[in-house]
Point group: C2
Chain length 556, copies 2
Amino acid sequence: MTNERLIYLPLGGAGEIGMNCYVYGYGRPGKERLIVVDLGVTFPDMETTPGVDLILPDVTWLAERADRIEAIFITHAHEDHVGALGHLWPRLRAPIHTRRFTGRIASLKFEEHGHPRDVINIVGARPDTVEAGPFKVQFVPVSHSIPESSALIIDTPAGRIFHSGDFKLDHNPVVGEPFNPEEAARIGAEGVKVLLCDSTNVFSLHPGRSESSLPEALTELVAGARGMVVATTFASNVARLQTLADAAVANGRSVCLLGRAMKRMVTAAVETGVLTNFPSTVSPEEAAQIPRENLMLIVTGSQGERRAASAQLSRGKYLGLSLKEGDLFLFSSKTIPGNESGVIRIMNAFSEMGVDVVDDTGGKYHVSGHANRPDLERIHELIRPQILLPMHGEHRHLREHVKLAMTRGITSQIVSNGMMVDLTGDAPKVVEHIETGRIYLDGSVQVGALDGVIRDRLRLAMNGHVMITLIVDEDDEILGEPWAETLGLAETGRTGAPLTETLETELNSFLVRADDRVIADDDKLDDAIRRIVRQVCMEEIGKKPEVSVVVSRLMD
Amino acid sequence: MTNERLIYLPLGGAGEIGMNCYVYGYGRPGKERLIVVDLGVTFPDMETTPGVDLILPDVTWLAERADRIEAIFITHAHEDHVGALGHLWPRLRAPIHTRRFTGRIASLKFEEHGHPRDVINIVGARPDTVEAGPFKVQFVPVSHSIPESSALIIDTPAGRIFHSGDFKLDHNPVVGEPFNPEEAARIGAEGVKVLLCDSTNVFSLHPGRSESSLPEALTELVAGARGMVVATTFASNVARLQTLADAAVANGRSVCLLGRAMKRMVTAAVETGVLTNFPSTVSPEEAAQIPRENLMLIVTGSQGERRAASAQLSRGKYLGLSLKEGDLFLFSSKTIPGNESGVIRIMNAFSEMGVDVVDDTGGKYHVSGHANRPDLERIHELIRPQILLPMHGEHRHLREHVKLAMTRGITSQIVSNGMMVDLTGDAPKVVEHIETGRIYLDGSVQVGALDGVIRDRLRLAMNGHVMITLIVDEDDEILGEPWAETLGLAETGRTGAPLTETLETELNSFLVRADDRVIADDDKLDDAIRRIVRQVCMEEIGKKPEVSVVVSRLMD
């Protein structure tokens, strides 16, 4: 019994914002029974992962120990917490526990993937308790930017863990449960050994603002609008949808939802009883018949996503609706770093139409879903943990959060993806480094981040591609002449001649002079051709392209 | 005489931040004598222009009228104003006029390109005047974030133009000339017909802050540092380099400059007499011998550029210098939208080394070089133009600036790239739309933005590449079997077999069944192969790749 231990192992989310996946274990070393908290994704970009559809945490370590997994807990329905569930569950196959709204979203994913939905168990808030091997787990309602977000109380033989999930301190979140400081203090008073804590906003110095600070400004903004009002926010921010819809109704406007995610979220929220007062909405066809001063569209695409409703509207007519001079477009959202270009592209497109674009520059039309620095300090005080381990942050956020905890005398250290720590004693102890990483969902297959597939795509994008084909006959003689094709390269070079012709001429003059032993040897021939291609391209266009060489050898 | 006219035509910078190039003309329609103000570049990104080195304005319209160009004026030495001069001058071949510091930077570019440096004329500040055909042009010192930035007074037979250049209202800019409200009022009182005005910060609601507001906070920050201090900012922000170096010296630290641009700018500033009190610096070799608490590095790479000194240091040792726990890294800069990912990557790399990273989140360590909204209003008041045309901004900035001017009763309208307006009358009148656009410098050649070269690269990056080669003999029979290669695609598909094998098998089974007329017809064969490749890839990996087909036909 004495050599049983409590371990913590982040596989995603500790060293990045996104792709959350945290593992806890209890038992004899190497035999611990495990639980998983969250299975999220992160999103690709052109700069590092062109063409990739989704990025998943590498759960190989977990999959190899699937028989030891007691349960999977999902804290809330944001994609960075639940998005990988459908993709990875078949490798883990443990029962899933979550609250009602999150469960509904998870079920929709399971349906798409054809997984059995009955492994998803709906759990009520504390004091309801899930027993999972040595763990007793309770869902503690917290305020965030999606309904029924939860922290987890994880009671273990080695003490209590408070896993914060994503949270903010909102006393009046419009939809869902407010922050309850008495409850938090009570949990703290019962004794918390380790606080695993959201770190996203540790650099935001002012106390976070409540969702309920928005309705007044939003209603005023809509009241002042002459034409159609179009607002975008994250579809999952159901409270914001309510706030926006209320502002519309208060100004005699009908509400129309655009975008698949928007409708899915509102439906899920209504069906699970989270949303009880949402006004009735009109379809796009109906909306097109309503005078624009009596209409508000609430649309997807707050991050500038090219296929979402915002971008579609910025390019012209979408589902029979279009914006024009005198209309108002509101970003009731924050632009996530990396998405600026897409958002700015949309803003300028609307500007060209004469549409007034309003964003959150003045801080009046959006509030964050995460605890800011003073809010984190408040939680530290209420929960009073012996140990604080920051999570949900890039390295710089984790580091700052550790510093913050230590100034308050709390034992703290950075535990990033792949570090397994023993939490049995008074201080965390690193016991192992697990190989972790990222898996790319690319089309319908999964490729490893280090497989070289995406590296090749980036090289093609940077350098362009030259393809050389060549036929060698049975006597190791070149048949005809080499053939060059290019893709993604200037057609003509410095000399003014077509690049492919220059390449073919140079290769031909090499081949007629080349030693028979070079022609006969695949590797030598390949090397020589590549060298010539790169050299010609460097001289002609100042670039070193990717080169593919196909030598077809005719057989007797 | 009565049918002479004054025209304005932006070829870059009006509809984007970057690539500034503005044309003015005076004379009979179609015979106007022309002057060009600024010839700048903008920068590529992975999302839209992978592999591209620089983006230049398309000056075809100007080049076709080179005999009508009287002169080129450069307002200041930022790359978005002078960066295209070396690349485009050979097509324009007009004399260049600029102040001393800008001229030095321009000369360095001409030297690299092998252009004659004697076409660059150095002009003093107002009242010095350049006569260029019907234009009389004076350089008016303005404060900005680079030395000797200037507005231009352009006197024409149809009235005075005040071309603001990039500016802010700084009464104490540390280096260079302060903002002089009396001078601005005097120019206004002399009568200004058209104000062409910087629009970059029109959405910034607070008055801009002076460079001189920084030394105190910076000195305090450096005083509190235990280890080495490394600061990054734009190399061209010579005043900031002075402020940073002063903070170092005040704390007994030696200064070492890292990065080519850093040394080039300081040298140019010293040689042209702009910088008179810069402390002596130490070389990287000397710096490596100095105790870290007595050292400050001032380095390039504030925008996260992968090859600049900041990024190099974030990856480890650079020129014998490296950062470690207890050092401080300061971004004395703002991250330009689109550059966030690169900057954040560096921040996290330093965080992993235990380095404290400080940025401008609190607004203490950086000030902007552009006039904010209240400053713009001040300039409108002082210059009192009859017409205001906003420039140097995306469409949304231009639109907002027009609105701002109109609330003050100033005639204003959006004139974006390619719109030629007649300014002879009381209000601007659009007289022509010129085809404009972007030219990509790609390696050593220029390719048009619409040539399809970059579109192909983006497709390769998104979709990967399949290459099929096939030999058809003299009798239109397939010789051997088709050969498939892939680049940037998963090696194996759903079936578990190598993708290239599946492709070859499917192509082969098509070819043995195929109609002779298909085999004999290049286009039909090509189409059929592409269709099969896309279909197989869709089934196997859920992607539709780019496909290249090379059919070699043996001749008798």
